[in-house]
């Protein structure tokens, strides 16, 4: 259990997909099927659909806000995003999707680096909202 900072508050749970490098949604994710299409990315070919996306930070183009929001609209996006560093561009995409479609994809920053690094692919992650948001992990 780790205390987190919620950029977009909310509750969600799902299996973790851990990315070893930052991902730009624009040019990096195909919103029609949620697949990672950036060929330079170490997890290229994986899908971000229905999972808790765990990555160090966002990267690159600010159009990533739109592409993340489009995946949420189309149901191909992650159910939550867990970051090691705050990222306004991803927070904005999730925020706008929640305003437009009522689907909340929480975006949280795990402040404690050790906790962040302990998350591995397939761990069941639960994100709790409220005044003291938390990330819980069940390997």
């Amino acid at each position: 259990m780790a205390e987190v900072r919620a950029l977009v508050p909310g509750a969600a749970s799902g299996p973790a997909l851990v990315l070893s490098a930052p991902l730009s949604f624009w040019g990096g994710v195909d919103p029609t099927d949620g697949r990672i299409i950036d060929r330079r990315h170490p997890q290229a070919g994986e899908r971000v659909t229905g999972i808790v996306l765990v990555m160090p930070s966002g990267r690159g183009s600010s159009s990533s806000s739109s592409v993340l929001a489009e995946t949420i609209r189309a149901g191909t996006g992650p159910v939550a995003i867990v970051l090691a560093e705050p990222d306004g561009i991803l927070a904005l995409g999730a925020l706008v999707a929640s305003k437009l479609y009522g689907t909340t994809v929480p975006v949280v920053v795990v402040v404690d680096d050790r906790t962040y690094r302990s998350i591995t692919k397939g761990d069941e992650i639960e994100i709790r909202g409220g005044d003291r948001p938390e990330v819980r992990r069940q390997p």
């Binding site: 977009v8 990267r59 690159g60 189309a74 561009i89």
Partner: protein, 422 residues
Amino acid sequence: MAVRLVDRDRAMLGGAQGEAARLAMEIVVAMAESVGAERLVDIASGHIDGALYHGKVSLDFAERLVAGGGRVRVPTTLNVGSLDLLHPGLYRGDEDTARAGRRLMELYAEMGCRPTWTCAPYQKDARPAFGEHVAWAESNAIVFANSVLGARTDRYGDFIDICAAITGRAPYAGLHLDENRRGEILFRVSGLPGRLLGADVLYPVLGHLVGLESGTLVPVIDGLPAGTSEDRLKALSAAAASSGSVGLFHAVGVTPEAPTLEAALQGAEAVRTIEVTMERIARARDSLSTATEGDLDAVSVGTPHFSVSEFEQLVGQLDGARVADGVAFYVSTGRSVLAEAESRGWIEVCERAGVTIVADTCTYVTPILRSDARVVMTNSGKWAYYAPGNLDVQVVFGSLAECVRSAVEGKVWRDPEVWADG
């Protein structure tokens, strides 16, 4: 942490200025909270990237704002859209996307944004003053406004750009603040040959290198010639914002917040210093190309949009020659520059030479190139960075002169002189 709001912010949040302003203020405040801003700041202008179509969400958001009476409160320019409205025949994509792209462009114009449709508004349409707070989107425009003009914008993008323009407010954080504008990583270029420092082709490569090495640090470049042109600083800005997340750089003796190295560093020490050697710059140059020789299908220049002086240069280099059959040569530019180039007779010269002018959009964000184009040459570090992924083409990076002669000969031509050491 709660953001400190003033009465008119709270009134807007309460819906006093209509539904669109309420939603826009909610988003500005949520962003301010997420970046840890203590308060909001008035902005003098906006530049909007949100009118480029990324899917139905782009339209849903703009429709919601227009339906809620959304109007910009500050002078606002528009970045490229998905279509060239002046030359609609250039578009090779599907009809549905074209219709959605056009509708999105109309919606942003309806909100009172100026239909400038350019990624380089600073060339003619909008020149924020030194020290002025603005909310600009589009990475190259952000770097140019911050670095070359000394205006202050954080790295805004889709959604927040129009929300800031509608509310006239932005989170007072990031590059709006003095302390975040301090130079941190130093690039020394004085070891490069003088001839290379005087060549346009260096600047996108240098920007590419600066972007790759800077991470989240603010770069300072020491050793650029005084009076380095805006075209060169534009190419540097665009490349640095593509390979990295640069939002501001200082060039000692060139950009306004860097009269001296000490001023650029705000009196502190650089966190890291990089000597830009010939070897290092050559490596950065090579990483911009995925092909080096062979038959050429197309050339694309004007990313960011061509300036009047770049048109003048191109016309001089074409020098009456014609682009080879089978090669498409695209120049992307904005309407204001196009009008001036037209009035000088340069567009006619370009078209006679077989050059196609693209306005309002750009060749790497929308289908304009033939889908069977395989090898494309460019003088843009930004285009070279994004096109292989976006368009599935091989890219050859070179100078404008190399692009022109290659287009005329129909195959990649290299000038051995440009990169010669010493």
